[in-house]
Amino acid sequence: MPTLRQLRDRVKSLKNTQQITRAMKMVAGARIRRAELAMKAARPYATAVGDMLRELANGGAKDHPLLQEREVRTPAVLLMTADKGLCGAFNSNLVRSALNTAKTAGPQTRLYLVGLKGRVQLRKSPYEIAEYWPLLGTPFAELGRAVARKVSDDFLAGLVDDVTLVSSRFVSTIVQRPTPVRLLPVSSGEGAVRRSPTQNSYEFEPDTKSVLAALLPKYVEFTVFQALLETQASEFAARLLAMSNATDNAGKLIDDLTLVMNKTRQAAITKEILEIVGGAEALKG
């Protein structure tokens, strides 16, 4: 049986913890709204880029190094995680998904990591870490550009033959799913609409080839950018849930301990009264 003093200290420390988790929960809640807005704002761009790529595919533009399928000798995984923990199994799930992807791809897999937690967890993995970027400190547009450029350059230089992007898809505030998507080579034929020749009369300026050459890097860049936004929104959502649970759990523990504490105190008082009464009885006798 813990003493009254021990119980009191424990409740006090729990209350402090609860204060912190509650604050983190509120911060995550506020930031998730902003992250969601940013995600929504990026959606029209995604639609427009996809549209244009499809038109190009329909127009017969299929010739670009970024589209080139080749024999995969060195696969690569581009993994996005958070910089910080305390968001439940968010980072671990992403890392596990990345490891699964790498396992199927083969032991030659090179890792490109965005986010500190991924690096910490994969430092001792058998795969080579080709590059690492911290998440914080750089605006996402810039970070996305840097990551996309590095990965594309390595792909074009033949250092890697296939790049899978593992990031978190923001399904809802409750559900975030680690999702592997193939980033390179770009599969532009996807969703190409077969249309009658009369409809399919796009003109391209200066010509299909240069439009494609300009659009593809943008497409890769934007895909990375969007994945960054979704991963961040997911991180906040995961943290919101984790911290909300932590706050609730702390609350429950505090309630339980307070009950034990009160009982212990009551027991001590009862004991003292009994002693006094017992003493008085003894004196009477």
């Binding site: 940013a38 704002a41 990026a42 029209p44 761009y45 427009a48 880029v49 549209d51 244009m52 038109e55 190009l56 127009g59 547009a141 009369s201 796009y202 003109e203 391209f204 300026e205 200066p206 240069s210 439009v211 300009a214 659009l215 943008k218 934007f222 950018f225």
Partner: protein, 138 residues
């Protein structure tokens, strides 16, 4: 009512403009071009420059954006401009743009014509911003 065309100006961060316009004039990759309603379907790259349009709202309000490259997709009744940055006069800090223009011009001069794509782009971008802001070039 005059015929109109839907114009969307889209950047990764936001939709900068969405509405009906009478004409769009854009700095196309193969020369400036204008799109009126019922234009033939077309997909073009954009240079760094100024995108102009006349809004079809009776007042014939003119809108201008400095765009740093990108793409434009034209169909008979819709026109989508896709760019990394589209700045209207209100978005532009004239002093900063002028400072950029000066710096860009200097570094371009130092390159003496060798591999100066980046510098040329910087100069063009600053010039486009100043044009939209109607500020004198430095």
């Amino acid at each position: 009512m005059a015929a109109s065309i839907d114009l969307d100006v889209v950047t990764p961060g936001a939709v900068k403009f969405q509405g009906k316009v009478e004409i769009v004039v854009a700095p196309g990759g193969a020369g400036d071009l204008a799109a009126l309603p019922n234009h033939a379907p077309m997909l073009t790259t954009l240079r760094i420059g100024v995108l102009r349009a006349t809004v079809a709202d009776g007042e014939k309000r003119r809108i201008e954006f400095a765009v740093n490259g990108g793409f434009m997709q034209i169909t008979p009744n819709k026109c989508v401009v896709l760019t990394d940055m589209a700045l209207s006069a209100a978005d532009i800090n004239i002093e900063a743009a002028q400072a950029d223009a000066r710096r860009a011009a200097e570094s371009l001069a130092q390159k003496h014509g060798a591999d100066d794509v980046r510098e040329r782009e910087a100069v063009a971008w600053a010039a486009a911003q100043l044009e939209v802001a109607r500020a004198p070039h430095v």
